[in-house]
Amino acid sequence: MLSRRLFASSQLGLLLVIGLLGLVLTLFAGSHVDARTGATVNNFLNSYTLIQTATDASFFAVMAVGATVVIVSGGIDLSVGSIYALAGVTTAMILRAMGPADPAVTVIAGAAIAIVVGLVCGALNGLMVVGLDVHPFIITLGTMWILRGIAFVASRAESILLPAPLTSVAKASLGLPSALYPVPMLVMVLVTIVGAVYLTRTVMGRHVFAVGGNVEASRFAGLRISRIKIGVFIASGLTAGLAAFMGASFYGSASCGDATGYELYVIASAVVGGASLSGGKGSAINAMLGALLIVLIRQSIRSLHFDQNYEWIIIGAAVIVAVVLDQSSARFTRRRLATSAGTPTSS
């Protein structure tokens, strides 16, 4: 029952599209001769490229799950990239100040710091949105700059190395051949499952959909709107902090410039996954698949040797046209249903 709900038709559609793009890449991305083994290797369909693609997507996807919760509630969070940078820089600075410690302590401390920073930033966003009664776009636009500025000032723009135990965990091969690192991918899947269960199987998740669908009706139904709104930003901050921990650990350093512009990829992932910016619609699994699809489009541009300078044009056009056509499709469906029911409609 749960699996059926988790993998509804829209997920299957995304999976089919990802599969189709994968097929195109397998057929047309060519192959190369492995220098060490002498074997011919398909440029796309090999374990390294597949895991690398999932790894590239994982940092967006984890944040996209949190961002989707915000979007479902009718809000938006532009500050996720800056939270990522601040959480990474803070983690790196505190661990550096702590000095050498037991590897397990280092890893747990690192994760805790990044997640706490994310939670605090998310809570601040939520409190300001509710307390100041200002649209989340404005609040998170402001905190996007403020938080990155704090990261800049605190780190003095230095790129700070993370202790080796963190990288060892993020790049653990888990029994796979060397240079295959499945941990970010597994974290992405885990976060997506938690996000999906939260949104679809818990009362809190239902409340988020209710607020996003109709805030006034939710208020009359007795929902505590302020608490729900603060909660969604905390969820977004939490995933940004987790993504920062994972990203900084995987790449081995953190700097104030990290994740610049990633908020747009994160929002695009949610939107491509079907989330509605007017609220009430969205899915954690779709957001993850949306992130995978966007990364796969980027991968296609390079693997098929298209001019990569067209990357932004292609992704931007794909997102805009997709949303416009989706809206048209929804409008058409509403009209058809209304016609069959014999009632007039407004567009």
Partner: protein, 333 residues
């Protein structure tokens, strides 16, 4: 559901358009196993920075020469991100290795971010060389570029001469995370200690685009009207024409690193009496030759290959322009 299919369809259509209308990356098209040869992934910091475009031109010229001379196809795969991002660079290194590159040539936006990816590439048998901005803790086999501390010192020494060793200056830096630029800033500050009459107002960072850099200079100049010198450790704002009209060469002097065509008007006008040009074309040209020596000819290559700066002034401007033209630059009067 509709949205998903539309994304895929638009992406494919747009990509097809990009493919048909592009110059491509200059390498093999998909579908077939490429002929044996040397495939070098070139990953500069940003594809919007002219200095890296000239490095690409140099790399492609060297590849052409080597292909003709040794009858070994040498191809350059341009994998430079559109804007500076060490994380994306690390991803592109992995992608290059996964797709069969024999070598990677990279200018590191953030050494900490790419060191792991460089080491992974080397572990999988792919040689890596750095240029312009090094990752000294990595397993790259060589670095080609200027000594950044000395470059910063040279900028300050030249500026001090132009200002009569007195006045107030600003240091214009670009990406604060780039290790090479941080070293140049250190060099400027070290050299400034020799000139007690010169006071450094501050170091000013900016997004590494010409417009952002020019806007930063104007903002700072308005905030500090007494400022009469600029130590620019990169030539970013001089790629615009704005400062030619906004700054008075009688009041303000600039010494900048780099000497590409758009910057030369500043020398002619006297606003930037000295440019310390990095022969950026050679980043690509020399590095590709060194990679060929290492990978194809199995020769030893020095770990540090120093690049010499070219001092461009009104006196040698004509010769420098000729050199730029010979390297394929356009827009040189």
């Amino acid at each position: 559901m509709t949205r998903v299919w539309t994304v895929a369809a638009v992406a494919m259509l747009a990509a097809a358009g990009a493919c048909s209308g592009s110059g491509g990356s200059g390498s093999t098209s998909g579908g077939a196993t490429p002929a044996p040869g040397l495939k070098i992934a070139l990953i500069a910091k940003s594809s919007t920075n002219p200095v890296f475009l000239s490095a690409r031109t140099g790399a492609e010229a060297a590849a052409k020469e080597l292909t003709a001379k040794h009858n070994v196809p040498v191809t350059i795969e341009w994998l430079t991100p559109p804007n500076e991002d060490g994380q994306v660079q690390a991803q592109r290194i992995a992608q290059a290795v996964n797709e069969g590159a024999n070598a990677v040539l990279i200018s590191c936006s953030d050494a900490g971010k790419v060191t792991g990816a460089i080491n992974d590439a080397v572990a999988r048998g792919v040689q890596v060389m750095t240029f312009d901005s090094d990752a000294p803790e990595s397993k790259r086999f060589a670095f080609y570029g200027v000594d950044d501390v000395k470059t910063g010192q040279a900028v300050m020494d030249e500026l001090a001469k132009q200002m009569g060793e007195k006045g107030q200056i600003g240091i214009l830096a670009g990406n604060p995370n780039a290790p090479n630029l941080r070293k140049r800033v250190d060099g400027v500050k070290q050299a400034a200690t020799k000139y007690p009459g010169i006071k450094i107002i501050d170091t000013f960072y900016h997004a590494e685009t010409a417009q952002d850099a020019a806007a930063e200079v104007i903002r700072v100049q308005n905030a500090y009207p007494q400022l009469n010198g600029w130590a620019m450790i990169g030539g970013w704002p001089l790629f615009t024409q704005t400062l030619l009209t906004d700054l008075d060469p009688k009041k303000v002097k600039i010494v900048a690193v780099d000497g590409l065509p758009p910057e030369l008007a500043y020398v002619e006008k006297g606003l930037a009496p000295v440019l310390l040009a990095q022969p950026t074309y050679l980043w690509g040209y020399e590095s590709v030759k060194r990679i060929f020596d290492k990978v194809q000819l199995k020769q030893d290559v020095p770990q540090i290959i120093p690049m010499e700066l070219v001092r461009v002034t009104k006196d040698n401007l004509a010769d420098w322009k000729k050199q730029l033209k010979a390297w394929g630059f356009t827009g040189v009067d």
